[in-house]
């Protein structure tokens, strides 16, 4: 395998990781602040993609579509938080898993009822279409570079939000001691709604960005939800930095598995079987990674035990 191809695959792994980070950031934020496991996070991702596809279809503008995705997912998130989620903060994980599992059923079938059973169309905008030549002679899709940029910007923005703003101080205070900040006069329930809507908006943004190069369809949220959970568990639940590192690790591991496993398997099982056996191993690589990380650090890389 040539160095150029290796570099390109490295970039692919990074890019996949950044895409996962967009999804995982909201999930881990919500867990960190409110202690809530939200299985319906994938549905918010789907809502973002559907909103973007609809608006892009009407207006033809990709930027408007992205805004619509942010707005629709944030609104759906706020609505869900006010009606359902806020009753779950004091509950145990089992109730949370079940209630948000129920939300998946409702949101998925509701979306299908509204939009029908066929996938929707959403494409990359003309100004981001096609490849660009990078130094070293790699032809890399412009859109994927843009996704990397957006992901890094979101990571930076979140870091700034948490470390350097009033809202961030409240969020950190809320993570540390809920009763105390309520006693200090911060409207905790408004803060929670805000954080949940923010997490939802991030998921919606991820759905719209990813929807342009994948399939916008009902059920698109579940596979990526599971990957996002793997990411935040590896990183340590509640830690944004953990989510970032975890996302990159998962992205790189998954890509490396897909590329190298079939090659590594060739001497062991022969040319004929290598493709299937290698692919089977590649599809479980990230779960093995997660199990290994948790065996060594039961609360993830950056988690508080």
């Amino acid at each position: 395998m040539s160095t150029v191809l290796l570099l390109e695959q490295l970039l692919n792994g990074l890019q996949f990781g950044v895409m996962l980070f967009l999804m995982a950031a909201g999930l881990t934020l919500i867990f960190g602040v409110m202690g809530l496991i939200n299985l319906a996070h994938g549905s918010l991702y789907m809502i973002g993609a559907f909103a973007a596809a609809s608006v892009a279809g009407f207006t033809g503008s990709f930027l408007l579509a992205l805004m619509a995705a942010l707005a629709a997912a944030a609104a759906a998130g706020a609505l869900i938080e006010v009606t359902v989620i806020r009753r779950l903060y004091a509950r145990d994980h089992l109730d949370q898993v079940l209630a948000t599992f129920a939300l998946i059923l409702i949101l998925s079938e509701g979306t299908r009822w509204l939009f029908g059973s066929f996938p929707l169309y959403l494409d990359v905008p003309a100004w981001l279409a096609g490849p660009v030549r990078l130094p070293g002679g790699i032809d890399y899709p412009r859109y994927r570079l843009a996704v990397i940029a957006v992901g890094l910007a979101v990571a930076g923005g979140l870091a700034w939000l948490i470390a350097g703003t009033r809202l961030g101080i409240r969020i950190r205070a809320g993570e540390a001691d809920r009763e105390m900040i309520a006693a200090l006069g911060v409207d905790i329930s408004r803060l929670y709604t805000l954080v949940f809507a923010l997490g939802a908006a991030l998921a919606g943004l991820a759905g719209a960005l990813v929807g342009a190069i994948q399939s916008v369809q009902v059920g698109m949220g579940e596979p990526v939800l599971i990957l996002a959970f793997v990411v935040i568990v590896i990183g340590g639940i509640g830690s944004i930095r953990g989510a970032f590192v975890g996302a990159l690790l998962v992205g790189l591991t998954d890509t490396a598995g897909r590329v190298f496993m079939p090659i590594l398997m060739q001497p062991l099982v022969g040319q004929q079987q290598a493709a299937t056996v290698g692919s089977a191993l590649a599809s479980v690589a990230i779960y093995v990674l997660m199990a290994l990380v948790l065996l060594v650090r039961p609360a993830g890389l950056y988690g508080r035990a």
Binding site: E109, V230, Y287, V288, L294, A299
Partner: protein
């Protein structure tokens, strides 16, 4: 406790009475539905020991359910094709007791392995680890070509049980029902035993348990192993009901449905999974007949139970359980 006993007895009678009536009325499909409910209830009873009594939220119990299914599928497949099993040069079998034994043993071993690795962590990490092991097994089954991959394995004729004609819907139902009742009886004994009480204590206040010198890890591991073994037995029966096994039995949605069964009925209640399974099968069948968007209604019902009817169906009918501590 008195009212819960009455509710339990009513559920046991209902689950037995409906298929008997259906047999008399000549409606074999209702018997099939009741059998499905009984088997799912059995899987739920297994999960309930870990989830309810032990407080271990496993999002990977489909592993054991599917493993039981594949125990039946693989053994029967070798029996019907007259080929020996790959590793040990043994023939397959079409005998349910043998299949059950293999399923229970396999489920227990797998649960010991997964439990030993996952129980070191707790809370969300435990949920996610069990999910991760579930996904590994799912992808392994989908892509491994030996036993049908995603296509699964079909069995031409349902396996046999000495002295019964399992092809007769009612007799197969009665068999599943008897297994269910036997396991529920055993579970009641386990819960009342020192082990069961210590396990419940480990959920309620681990610190106090530590103080008296009991080790929660071992308690939980034993509970997880029993739980996995029972769920695997249910998986073998479920595959026999369908005469078919496929990786969909191993999917995380199956794990979710098993949790739904337990919670709908009432967590940690002896007959909770029975109530939950009856309710789920009924909803699935009748709502599914009304609208193709029936899952919206299922989701809403589920949400209502979690938010407003804690304690599930049994909780609503029988009131709060008598506290043990």
């Amino acid at each position: 406790m008195g009212r819960e006993r009455i509710v339990n007895a009513a559920l046991a009678v209902l689950l037995l009475g409906v298929p008997l009536w259906a047999h008399w009325a000549g409606e074999p499909f209702t018997i099939t539905l009741a059998t499905r409910a009984a088997i799912l209830a059995l899987a739920g009873v297994g999960l309930n020991l870990a989830l309810g009594t032990g407080g271990l939220v496993s999002l990977g119990h489909a592993v054991f359910f599917g493993l039981g299914g594949y125990a039946m599928g693989i053994l029967a497949h070798h029996a019907q094709t007259f080929t020996p099993l790959p590793l040990w040069d043994l023939p397959g079998t079409k005998s349910m007791p043998v299949i059950w034994l293999v399923a229970i043993t396999g489920g227990a071993l797998m649960a010991a392995l997964i439990g030993a690795l996952s129980l070191r962590s707790s809370g969300v990490y435990f949920i996610m680890l069990t999910l991760a092991f579930g996904q590994m097994c799912f992808y392994f089954a989908v892509s491994s070509p030996t036993y049908g991959g995603e296509d699964g394995l079909s069995i031409w004729v349902r396996n046999g049980f000495p002295g019964l004609n399992t092809l007769d819907p009612l007799q197969f139902f009665l068999l599943a029902y008897a297994v269910l009742m036997a396991v529920i009886w055993a579970m009641a004994r386990i819960k009342a035993s020192p082990f069961g009480l210590a396990l419940a204590a480990a959920r309620q206040s681990p610190a106090r348990l530590d103080a008296v010198g009991a080790r929660p890890f071992r308690l939980r591991l034993v509970a997880f192993v029993i739980s996995g073994a029972v769920t695997a037995l249910a998986g073998a029966l479920f595959a026999d009901l369908n005469r078919f096994v496929s990786p969909s039995m191993l999917s995380w949605q199956t794990s979710g449905e098993l949790i739904v069964i337990v919670v709908l009925g009432g967590v940690a209640r002896l007959y909770g999974p029975v109530a939950g399974a009856i309710l789920l099968v009924t909803l699935e069948h009748y709502l599914g007949g009304i609208s193709e968007y029936w899952q919206i209604a299922l989701g809403a019902a589920l949400l209502a139970v979690v938010l407003f009817a804690r304690g599930g169906l049994i909780g609503a009918l029988a009131g709060r359980p008598v506290a043990h501590d």
